[in-house]
């Protein structure tokens, strides 16, 4: 009890002598950290467009942020009464260590198979990667939901990264009725694909007859587009195929079952006719 009182007395004496320096140092530390955070955020926004690679940007900003904190802490300690040279040496060693870990160890750390901004299918979800941390990945789905997927789940699952290749193949499947003009239908689909500005010239668009199915002749149009234009191009081409087929008089097949009835001596008809005859004669009688 007494020792505690003595400790408090020591602390009181220290604060009465150096309190103003400690408070000033704390103030500098707090304001400095807030300022460093603001500068980091400002740089992030400013360099987002000129620096395309997000990984490079985050490394540069993180290194700069660590240096800023180093300066802030050094100034605060100096104001608290510590000797400048000792502080600078100690902090320089710590900073170099942190920066070294950032730069050297980065390629050896297990990384996720996508970057921020990529559209991916991971953990059973399709969306745009908004952020990644050591624990989870923030995905924004196309219907506007923000979902935090644990990295553990992503690393254990199959990941489809739609940004890995710059182009993507569009598949257009359409079935026409057996009595329709197949060559005309093929030409219409190919012409529509070639005429679209977003469809790449090479590999060339092509139409295959893929199936002589139960109720339709199945055509498959294939063309290549830039990854980002995939969805809109596909939807536009489907719309155009339907409308152009209507204009050209090509009938698209739909699931149906045709029942053909041949001959006049069908037993069922004979039975029906005889039944009708009996009923009429009964009524007349």
């Amino acid at each position: 009890m007494e020792s505690q009182l003595i400790e408090w007395q020591h602390f009181g004496n220290y604060m009465s002598q150096h309190g103003q320096y400690v408070v000033r140092a704390m103030l500098i530390l707090v304001l400095g950290l807030i300022g460093a955070g603001l500068i980091r955020r400002f740089l992030n926004r400013m360099l987002e467009k000129p620096v395309f690679k997000h990984a490079t940007l985050s490394t540069v900003i993180n290194v700069f942020y660590v240096l800023l904190i180093f300066i802030v802490v050094a100034i605060a300690l100096q104001y608290a009464g510590f000797r400048g040279l000792v502080i600078y040496r100690t902090l320089a060693l710590i900073t170099l260590g942190v920066v070294g870990i950032f730069v050297i160890a980065r390629p050896y750390l297990p990384t996720l198979p996508f970057k921020v901004g990529n559209t991916v299918e991971a953990g059973g979800l399709l969306g745009k990667v908004e952020a990644t941390t050591f624990l989870n990945t923030r995905l924004r789905t196309f219907d506007g939901k923000t979902i935090y997927v644990p990295n553990r789940r992503i690393l254990d699952d199959i990941v489809v990264n739609y940004h890995f290749t710059p182009t993507r193949r569009v598949y257009l499947g359409v079935g026409i009725r057996y009595d329709q003009d197949l060559i005309k239908a093929k030409r219409v689909v190919e012409t529509l694909m070639i005429g679209d500005p977003r469809v790449l010239a090479t590999p060339r668009p092509i139409v295959y007859v893929t199936e002589l199915a139960a109720g339709s002749v199945d055509l498959s149009g294939r063309c290549w587009v830039k990854n980002l234009e995939y969805w809109k191009t596909r939807c536009d081409l489907i719309e155009k195929i339907k409308l152009r087929f209507d204009q050209e008089g090509i009938v698209i097949a739909y699931p149906q079952l045709d029942v053909h009835h041949y001959g006049e001596t069908c037993q069922a008809i004979q039975l029906m006719e005889s039944y009708q005859t009996i009923t009429t004669s009964d009524m007349e009688a």
Partner: protein, 107 residues
């Protein structure tokens, strides 16, 4: 003839692949039609004619009024053009289409 050469001939001579689309319209200013485009000529054109035709239709719908007379500020002759300024066939009908057609009658 090599296949490559034949492909070059096909690419040049068969279908024209437009680089993009714009909506052409004329705005009546002091009883005179003034031609303009969406997007502007200095901006990137639209990549899809489907989008361009939808934009043209929306423009015509939003400038419709119950009064059939064309007055200042009205948008007329709305249709889609390609990068050369040539009118584009409306994919929905297979024919040339023009929303709010207007031709100035010289007095």
């Amino acid at each position: 003839m090599k296949t490559k050469k034949a492909m070059e001939i096909i690419d040049k001579g068969w279908l024209k692949k437009p680089k993009g689309f714009r909506v052409h319209f004329q705005k009546i200013v002091d009883s005179e039609p003034v031609t303009d485009y969406v997007p502007d000529m200095e901006d990137k054109p639209l990549a899809s004619d489907v989008v361009a035709w939808r934009l043209a239709w929306k423009l015509s719908e939003s400038t419709q009024s119950e009064d059939p007379a064309i007055k200042d500020g009205d948008m007329v002759n709305i249709y889609v053009v390609d990068d050369d300024g040539e009118p584009v066939i409306f994919y929905g009908t297979g024919r040339a289409e023009r929303y709010r057609p207007y031709s100035k009658v010289s007095s």
